[in-house]
């Protein structure tokens, strides 16, 4: 009765973007009966995702809450919702090449995934987050398996099994959270019952940490990125990772807010292990895609530093700066990592080795310069956007008096320079007869990402504005 009442009284306007994407997805499924050209569907999803951004800006830009607080619409969630849509927009057109049959299924699934992402971006309730997150997970299992080759299936199977285990961890964790807090809603948690809170924390951390590929839950990620189509690995390592990052921020900074100390130590340890392991593993790797996969693991370690600063709670300005840095990092990360994964498509072989890039600079200088920009941005070298993202992160660490952590992070980022630059050196090798795939679907994503590495720097001017969104994390 209560539920029906709620449905009758609720104002659905804030859900128009999700509804619109759903309608478009079902429309594409219907069109699949007649049209078989993947191009049509990629263009449709491209356009509908862009329209969804505008709908978000129109209907969700004012603060409100619906379903009695289950969904909190505010600028913070809006920011993440938009950048997750952008990560899909970025991969949707180049993916055309890798979708050979039943394109309508691929793109409809992508839109469904996006709906779940939007819901998760606005939610502060563990159950809603769980359901939305499952939507994303199941959708991405399908996307990963789409190539139908043995490698794709292997990747999808690994992803599926580990993902399912993670799901059960999340459920367990949510249940224990309910025991300790008495509610699934994470707003205004005042006290947590101490016995079950640690169990809840560990279980939720393991469950969501799987998606963010934090060490020691990272091995699926390396294999899955390696085996999936390039555009899907770009999406997996950007869009879903940003989502997992957002959810982890929400759960651990808002839900567990009375329990700062445990959160702090947990995330400090995990971030150090993740950064160091990812970088060291990437050093000895020669498979191109696995190098990027390990570097993506290391990057997740940098992102997690935000939680360490915030839970350390040294001063309000350091907390603001840390969350701001995390928001900016997430945006920049989408393009630098996504562009890097697309660059694997340049190599025409099945298993791209780093030596297969040799001679690229002489075949296509433009693409080589673009990749250089992406790589130095990943390495955090100025004046690229990647540098500023890292710079603000380290700045927040230092302004939160976590010097030693900043030292570890910076030494790590110096370590990572080695394997990024090794790729640059290889590209400039002469006398190689490698053939490169320079078709537009490989060429443009990389070039656009490289240009954005400079354009996004201009966003620094908007930092005072973005800083006002930060409080939205806590559901205000």
């Amino acid at each position: 009765m209560n539920f029906i009442n709620m449905l009758q009284t609720v104002d659905f306007t804030t859900l128009y973007p999700e509804l619109f994407l759903g309608v478009m997805a079902f429309l594409m499924l219907l069109m699949g009966l007649r049209y078989k050209n993947p191009r049509i569907y990629s263009v449709i999803s491209f356009v509908s995702l862009i329209i969804a951004i505008f709908l978000l800006l129109i209907f969700d830009s004012s603060t409100s809450s619906i379903f009695s607080g289950i969904l909190q619409i505010n600028d913070f969630g809006l920011y993440f919702a938009i950048i997750m849509l952008i990560s899909s927009i970025y991969m949707v057109l180049p993916s055309t090449r890798e979708v050979h049959e039943k394109p309508e299924l691929f793109y409809a699934t992508l839109l469904f995934v996006n709906i779940s992402m939007l819901v998760a971006a606005f939610s502060l309730n563990l159950i809603v987050i769980f359901i939305a997150f499952e939507g994303v997970s199941i959708g991405t299992y399908i996307l990963t398996a789409f190539g139908k080759s043995r490698r794709n299936l292997e990747a999808a199977t690994k992803y599926f099994f580990t993902g399912t285990i993670a799901t059960s961890f999340i459920l367990f964790g949510s249940a224990f959270y309910y025991i300790s807090a008495g509610t699934f809603s994470m707003e205004n948690v005042v006290s947590l019952q101490s016995h079950s809170v640690l169990i809840a924390m560990i279980f939720l951390f393991v469950g969501y940490g799987f998606k963010l590929a934090l060490v020691p839950m990272h091995q699926w990620a390396v294999d899955t990125y390696d085996g999936s189509p390039n555009s899907v690995s770009a999406f997996l390592s950007t869009g879903t990772k940003v989502l997992a990052f957002l959810i982890i921020m929400r759960i651990f900074l808002v839900g567990f807010s009375p329990d700062h100390t445990d959160i702090f130590y947990l995330f400090v340890i995990i971030s150090i292990i993740t950064m160091t392991y990812g970088n060291i593993a990437a050093l000895s790797e020669t498979n191109l895609k696995r190098v990027f996969a390990y570097s993506s693991v290391a990057q997740a370690g940098y992102l997690i530093l935000v939680l360490a600063v915030v839970s350390n709670n040294y001063s309000s300005s350091s907390v603001d700066l840390a969350i701001l840095a995390g928001m900016f990092y997430a945006l920049v990360y989408i393009f630098m990592k996504g562009g890097a994964f697309f660059s694997v498509g340049l190599v025409k072989k099945e298993n791209a080795n780093i030596d297969d890039l040799s001679g690229l600079a002489w075949k296509s200088p433009v693409i080589a310069v673009s990749i250089i920009i992406l790589l130095i941005s990943l390495a955090g070298v100025p004046p690229t956007a990647g540098f500023f993202a890292k710079y603000y992160l380290f700045l927040s660490l230092i302004s939160g008096q976590l010097w030693w952590l900043a030292v570890i992070a910076i030494v790590n980022s110096a370590l990572s320079v080695f394997y990024y630059l090794r790729l640059i050196v290889i590209m400039f090798r002469r006398n190689s007869d490698n053939e490169f795939d320079l078709s537009p679907s490989v060429y443009y994503p990389i070039v656009i990402a490289a240009i954005l590495m400079f354009v996004l720097v201009a966003l620094i001017y908007e930092f005072p504005t973005i800083q006002t969104y930060v409080s939205g994390l806590f559901g205000v």
Binding site: A361, P365, I372, I376, V381, P382, P383, F387, Y391, F394, L395, I398, S399, Q401, W403, A406, V407, I410, V411, S413, A414, V417, F418, L421, R422, I424, V425, I426, F428, R429, I460, Y461, F463, P464
Partner: protein
């Protein structure tokens, strides 16, 4: 404003150098000469008279004031001396790239290096200082990685990792200063003058541990660039596998960065540098001087020999800085000014030597001492210029190197005492291997397997000769620059 407009012009010229299809050598040469001329005019207008230390032509452009990012620039006589060096070695480096078949990418990267050096020298905001610091490294890394000789891949990576490790500590030190300033005053600022002001540094705002940390970070970054003794292992590989133009920039430009850091950033911090650290700097300088000189003596390859000679003479900069901050009064001024003058003199001399060696290499095809021999008979002018460069490098009176080495050694006796003999010992070894190399490579019986070779033409004489004359003029009339530098130093003592 004048300086900033020169810098903007340089940026535009360097970007356009990337897109020139033909005649890229001519265009980048002309642009670097224009910049040199403009810097010269600037110096005449502002420094000819009336300079009394400190920083002039301040320019400030607020970018993100809320977090302290402003483009602030200013020029002191230290900056100006090193700007001269940068703008002079650039045409020399381009001169050595004339015969190589390089594309516009090469010249674009060369000009970009100049942009980085120029920006580094004029910026007075730490964030821009750091950005330009990196802007120098990346083009040089690419130049070695793309156009280097054998072993270029490992050499370029080694170079980059060493210097990147240095930059990391540089960034940490900058951020530390920034954070303590913020916790003291609640103001975000990255302005160099503010963060390095005695009031902030000497106060109790920074705990002792972090003061040492800041000094360590800066010192590490600058010593890598010099390169000084334990952090030098990138040097032989990078110098040897880099093409000649890049070697000129490495020797003149990158060691300049380390020296500039010493005198622009560590000198204002001198009050918190404990004397034990000064002694470490001094001993690293002496070890560099003696050790690199001994290593250079053993080299058969002239390019490697010059690389180590360059590192050895940068040892004087270490000594000068370490001794200078412990001294006061006129001794201190003479010591520190000598160190700055040494950066300038060393850069000019080493650029001349590498450029001349390049001419020898392109005439004879050889750069090993044993494969040359007696070439004075065939190419008298070229070998005379090379001899002149070698004599200047060993510190013969009459050349610029003498002025700086003399003032460093003379003024450091008060602190070093008998240890001065180690410095003198290093100078003797330096002199001996220079003369020995000249004797074996230039004089003696002619190595007939080289065949008959033609002496250098008018253009080469013009470039190399004018550089030699400049070194000579700075050696007999040092006050052109020495006086202005001593005023800059005087502010800190």
């Amino acid at each position: 404003m004048f300086m900033v407009s020169i810098f903007l012009l340089l940026i535009i010229l360097s970007i356009s150098a990337f897109f020139v299809k033909k005649k890229s050598w001519e265009i980048s040469m002309i642009s670097s000469l224009i910049i040199l001329l403009l810097v010269f005019i600037y110096a005449l207008l502002n420094f000819w008279s009336g300079y009394d230390g400190g920083i002039i032509s301040n320019y400030r452009l607020s970018l993100v004031p809320s977090i302290g990012i402003n483009f602030t620039s200013g020029v002191s006589s230290l900056t100006l001396a090193l700007l001269f060096l940068t703008t002079i070695i650039m045409p020399v480096a381009l001169y050595t790239s004339k015969n190589g078949k390089y594309g516009s990418l090469f010249y674009g990267l060369m000009m970009l290096t100049e942009v980085g050096l120029f920006g580094l020298l004029i910026s007075r905001n730490f964030i821009f200082f750091y950005i330009f610091w990196e802007v120098v490294i990346i083009p040089v890394f690419l130049l070695i990685a793309i156009y280097g000789g054998e072993k270029r891949e490992s050499a370029s990576l080694k170079f980059f990792i060493y210097t990147q490790l240095g930059s990391v500590f540089l960034l940490l030190s900058i951020l530390t200063l920034f954070a303590f300033y913020y916790s003291l005053n609640n103001v975000f600022t990255l302005n160099m003058t503010t963060l390095l002001s005695g009031q902030f540094i000497d106060g109790t705002a920074i705990p002792v541990f972090w003061k040492y940390f800041v000094i360590f970070g800066f010192l590490f970054a600058f010593l890598v660039k010099m390169p000084s003794f334990p952090l030098h292992s990138w040097l032989p590989d990078a110098y040897n596998s880099a093409p000649y133009p890049v070697t000129v920039i490495l020797a003149g430009g990158l060691s300049l960065m380390g020296g500039y850091g010493f005198f622009a950033i560590l000198l204002p911090l001198a009050s918190i540098i404990p004397s034990s650290v000064s002694w470490i700097i001094i001993s690293l300088g002496i070890i560099s001087l003696v050790y690199f000189a001994l290593v250079a003596m053993m080299q058969n390859n002239l390019k490697k020999m010059l690389a180590f000679a360059s590192a050895a003479s940068m040892g004087f900069v270490n000594i000068s800085f370490g001794v200078g901050i412990m001294e006061t009064g006129s001794y201190g001024i003479q010591e520190l000014t000598g160190g700055i003058y040494q950066i300038l003199a060393h850069g000019l001399i080493i650029a001349l030597l590498f450029a001349t060696l390049f001419a020898i290499k392109s005439k004879t095809g050889k750069e090993n001492i044993h494969s040359l021999g007696g070439i004075h008979r065939e190419v008298p002018i070229l070998s005379s210029i090379f001899l002149g460069g070698l004599l200047a490098s060993l510190g013969l009176p009459g050349f610029a190197g003498f002025i700086s080495e003399f003032s460093v050694v003379a003024a450091s006796y008060a602190i070093l005492g008998p240890l001065i003999f180690l410095v003198i010992f290093g100078m003797i070894i330096t002199a001996s291997y220079h003369v020995w190399a000249a004797q074996r490579a230039l004089y003696g019986p002619y190595n007939e397997t080289l065949g008959s070779i033609k002496d250098i033409g008018r253009h080469d004489i013009m470039v190399l000769g004018s550089l030699l004359i400049l070194i000579f003029v700075l050696g007999i009339y040092p006050n052109l620059i020495f006086g202005a530098i001593s005023k800059y130093v005087g502010v800190f003592l």
